[in-house]
Symmetry: C2
Subunit: 213 residues, 2 copies
């Protein structure tokens, strides 16, 4: 089981039992998320932006407009970043207020930006990203033309300083509280896809593709 | 319609049409979220932690253990923070890869921590937080005792430097792409509560309360 080396920044100090440095655990949490939070420092102040991402092997990729102030700042100044992903999996309703909690899976990564310039790597990053958002989509759509590629910036971040934190299961109440007449348990939470909304401008006769059914 | 004053840090420069400084918009996005991301700077490095929160009027409240390294650092060093909330509302599937997008509602706040010490404010913050996670819960459970209050730290952050960014609606394709035989539309996304999981240690005879049915 491959693990990330612990560092001062990634070592879980609060409730360390919930921490994990296992690569498979970290990667599964990342791959299950569509949006991450990118935090960075400008003039000593903390900034953050939510953004889509994908992972290819040991790298996390994001993309944006070449007109994006933050993409440019991060790329040009090579700003160190913290990248976070959190899944809220459940509300843990204990008998005491104190032991209320949530079930979650989260990852934090510390890394540095690398500007992607290789054409085939750019193409692969966008393909993997698009198919992560919607499996099967990339081969079905009009792919980027030269002008669109020129407007797109892709950054990658090596994943080597990373940790996960996970809580699962039901409430853990104080022994004497188990006798209280209070309902306890978990409300599971899940980010779900709902029924498709077809573009009113859809060309007549175009069917919903198999990968969306 | 009350608005937050724009600052250099909160002015939306990329796709400014999606930006909003309207207080009601910002507050609605915050109140619809259970988890925020708290970003801060330590030794020049960006850090972030996901954490539950609630809003009372113009303040955002978080709580944690007095043993939490980050809670203590933020409180003691009065670290400036950036607080972010993001809802992923839909996957926007356009005819071109380039115009793929997501529907979202996000808020970013810049603020500074204030340690809450007033007993009645502490109580109200925990009550509002608990009832936000699960409406009706607070009056049903065993409330904190002295020892539990001593273990709990509450911080609040004035919400006065804040902005929202929102995308809604379907894909916006290039004019010539509307004639392509490609399905386009939106996959709505929603974080949903699923069927309750009862604690196996539930005291026999305890029913699911009305506010959870």
């Amino acid at each position: 089981m491959a693990e990330f080396a612990k560092t001062d920044r990634t070592t879980i100090t609060r409730l360390p039992k919930r921490g994990s440095y296992d690569k498979d655990t970290v990667y599964a949490i990342l791959d299950d998320a569509l949006v991450c939070t990118l935090a960075f420092v400008l003039d000593g102040q903390p900034f953050q932006i939510p953004t889509g991402f994908c992972r290819i092997d040991d790298f996390l990729y994001i993309h944006g407009s070449v007109g994006s102030f933050y993409m440019r700042e991060i790329a040009e100044k090579k700003l160190p970043v913290s990248i976070g992903v959190t899944h809220l999996d459940g509300l843990v309703l204990a008998r005491s207020a104190f032991h209320h909690s949530v079930n979650y899976r989260s990852v934090v990564i510390f890394s540095n930006p690398e500007l992607v310039t290789d054409k085939s790597e750019l193409y692969t990053a966008l393909e993997v990203f698009t198919n992560k958002v919607q499996p099967g989509r990339w081969d079905d759509i009009r792919q980027p033309n030269d002008s669109e590629w020129k407007k797109t910036m892709v950054l990658k971040f090596k994943i080597e300083e990373a940790s996960a934190k996970v809580r699962t299961g039901g409430p853990n109440d104080d022994e004497e509280d188990y006798d209280l007449n209070i309902w306890a348990g978990v409300v599971p939470m899940k980010l779900e896809r709902k029924a498709l909304l077809t573009d009113p401008k859809l060309k007549p006769g175009v069917e919903v593709p198999g990968y969306l059914r």
